[in-house]
Symmetry: C2
Subunit: 132 residues, 2 copies
Amino acid sequence: MKPTGYTLDATFAALADPTRRAILARLATGDASVTELAKPFTMSQPAVSKHLKVLERAGLISRSREAQRRPRRLEPRPLGEATDWIERYRRIWEGNFKRLDAVLQELKSKERKAVDALLESGKPKLKKRRTR
Amino acid sequence: MKPTGYTLDATFAALADPTRRAILARLATGDASVTELAKPFTMSQPAVSKHLKVLERAGLISRSREAQRRPRRLEPRPLGEATDWIERYRRIWEGNFKRLDAVLQELKSKERKAVDALLESGKPKLKKRRTR
């Protein structure tokens, strides 16, 4: 088994290209042969094959054993691991952010009360000044 | 504004490195200076700074204006866009998979009924053969 670090490296590197993302998007709707996958692109079939090799090495796609056509299939597990990684840290960040926000809200409410108290105690003075 | 494709390219490329992921994981718990971020790694501060530049260019971190320390802060938006992209196609794939699974279940149940009917009609014959 590959260490998780290596797999995440390969998954994210494979996702960092618009052609490879388009290939994955196409495969999400169903298996497809290399010829079918190459059709929407203005690049040669060998160029598409290179991208497929990167996706295959990252474990994001596999080849069916079906003779001749050998259609490619999306493998969702590495995608799941990639979102798991991102979401773990997004949640930690959001948790901290919410706590920070709660502290700020509390400070604001305390400050507002202090200002209100100050205004209340200062009212006669303010009135005096205004009438001066 | 950068086109989404470019941003996703930069986000995924930035995530394809264990040091950069570790830096983001650290920043998820709170802002940190370059010195603080470099501490857990056995690499030079300039090497860490290079990784920080990649993360900054991808919009994954920003610098606080706080003088001298200039702590780095996690920017969660690109992370959200990255998971949004992955999850969109995972969901399409899962939807297709569930539909395929339902079709297979239906076929299996029809097949089972057909086999049951065949066994039912064939029972006397099978018994005859066995007693021969």
